[in-house]
């Protein structure tokens, strides 16, 4: 279950997976990978585009 709460009484950090450090680590890692993969892909795309014009 992604919900760290079963009731709103006394809830504090209630975001998804707030109770699961492993899940948080996986989601954070995935988002970091996406950011850097898009950057890498962008550079590859540029190289290819420039090569076509050379």
């Amino acid at each position: 279950m992604s919900s760290p709460i079963t009731t709103w009484e006394g809830a504090e950090a209630y975001f998804t997976f707030a109770h699961s450090p492993a899940a948080i680590a996986i989601i954070l890692a995935l988002s970091v990978i996406v950011v850097f993969f898009v950057l890498y892909n962008m550079a590859m795309h540029e190289n290819e585009s420039y090569r076509k014009l050379d």
Partner: protein
């Protein structure tokens, strides 16, 4: 100091505190409404830019008139529909407060809330109508469009809001539905309504060849479209501010009365937004789709905007940004001419949002009396309801308009350009402005 005097001072303080809270709430929704006007400035620029120069003003006029017709009709019956139908098709007594002659529906010193809430919802309504507007440019009759816009903005979406974006809406009380920022009732309904209309309206002349070829019809001013899309993003902050309820002296709550913070909205709006941009960039490299991706990203994260871990909102927005352009390509293969990708961005973006919430926030408790917790099946069932509630009225009403000859302009007007046919002004009068290059079948 006498006890009576202390008591008097305490009461005065309580009264002042309460009034300050009331006025804070009024001010908050006032500015949310003002920011939402930016959405319409954005749609105006975006759709005019996406039109060929011969249709630029006609597309803009359509936006202005959608706004002008939806606001009064939302006063006449839209707000009543919202208050009257949370249980389905049975009219609730609370609806009386939304009748256009009710004492709450005008200046009233005992009610500081109705006007600003009505205004925020009226702007949501106009936004919903604007979603339809872009898809149908360059060939729809203005009169037919206005009828569709009024029906979508002042009847259909608000019925959906009454069912699934209301503290007592039956989708929440029966199925545990959760959709904080209205991905279902606004975006899905508008997107699927648009799909129904497009099936009857047909493509622009020359868009699809008999041999299966597809002719691109780029707008005359892509930079203007990009600025328009950015304005919509600015306006989204007003829209999302209007999705949270100010409670005097206590924590904010969502429309479903679950506790929330504007900070949660801030985290996830921005993270979802940029996830959508990156998804669209990766799959298209097209600046029009990148900015549309910003919308898709926010819409994708909208249902769980109050609950997601921000990197999760980013990933959900990213997936939405990867999906939407592909859906648009599929529509083109099916010869459905959506000029701006509204079905993919709003319809499918909204669908993904509602489903993603079913995957990632299942188990969160609801607070409406007897309501089950959020569940995947509850979200899925609600998504089906919104899709049908959008598609069926859109298809039926546009079919009736088509039979009445009110849906589509004449071929002559379409080829000459709708500005020439309808508008007593020219977009670029001082420039040499020949008609756009004819497309193959024109």
């Amino acid at each position: 100091m006498e006890t009576a005097e202390l008591q008097q001072k305490l009461e005065a303080l309580e009264k002042a505190f309460s009034m300050a809270g009331t006025i804070n709430a009024e001010i908050f929704y006032w500015w949310c409404t003002a920011l939402m006007i930016t959405i319409h400035a954005g749609f105006l620029a975006y759709e005019m830019g996406a039109s060929r120069s011969k249709n630029a003003l006609a597309s803009g006029v359509k936006n202005i008139l959608a706004f002008a017709f939806v606001i009064p009709t939302f006063f006449f019956f839209g707000w009543w529909i919202y208050l009257a139908f949370p249980t389905g098709f049975t009219i609730s007594e609370a609806g009386a407060d939304g009748l256009p002659w009710a004492m709450k529906m005008g200046p009233n010193l005992t009610d500081n809330a109705t006007g600003v809430f009505w205004a925020a919802f009226a702007l949501f309504a106009a936004t919903t109508a604007s979603i339809l507007s872009g898809a149908v440019i360059e060939r729809i009759r203005v009169s037919g469009f206005v009828i569709l816009a009024v029906f979508l903005g002042s009847v259909v979406w608000i019925l959906g809001a009454s069912w699934g974006w209301h503290p007592s809406g039956w989708l929440t009380t029966e199925w545990g539905f959760h959709d904080t920022a209205a991905a279902g009732c606004v975006h899905m309904i508008a997107g699927f309504f648009t799909l129904g209309v497009l099936l009857n309206l047909g493509p622009r002349i020359g868009r699809f060849g008999k041999d299966g070829s597809v002719t691109e019809m780029p707008g005359h001013n892509l930079p203007m479209s990009l600025i328009g899309l950015m304005l919509i993003i600015v306006g989204f902050f007003g829209f999302l501010g209007g999705c949270i309820i100010f409670v005097n002296g206590d924590q904010w709550v969502t429309i479903f009365n679950t506790p929330a913070t504007l900070s949660a909205f801030a985290f996830n709006t921005l993270m979802g937004c940029v996830g959508g941009i990156l998804g669209c960039y990766l799959t298209t490299r097209d600046p029009f789709w990148m900015m549309s991706g910003a919308l898709v990203g926010i819409i994708s994260a909208a249902s769980g905007l109050d609950m997601y871990y921000p990197p999760l909102a980013f990933l959900i927005g990213f997936v939405g940004g990867c999906i939407a352009p592909q859906v648009n390509k599929l529509l083109i293969k099916l010869k459905i001419d959506d000029a701006v990708g509204a079905v993919a961005v709003h319809g499918v973006g909204g669908l993904w949002s509602v489903i993603a919430a079913g995957i990632f926030i299942a188990g969160y408790p609801n607070v409406a009396e007897g309501a089950p917790p959020v569940s995947f099946m509850g979200q899925l069932g609600s998504a089906v309801v919104f899709a049908l509630l959008g598609f069926i009225p859109g298809w039926v009403l546009s079919y009736v308009l088509k039979k009445l000859g009110l849906l589509r302009t004449s071929n002559g007007a379409e080829v000459a350009g709708l500005d020439t046919a309808e508008i007593p002004a020219r977009a670029y009068p001082e420039a040499y402005n020949p008609p756009s290059r004819p497309f193959p079948a024109e």
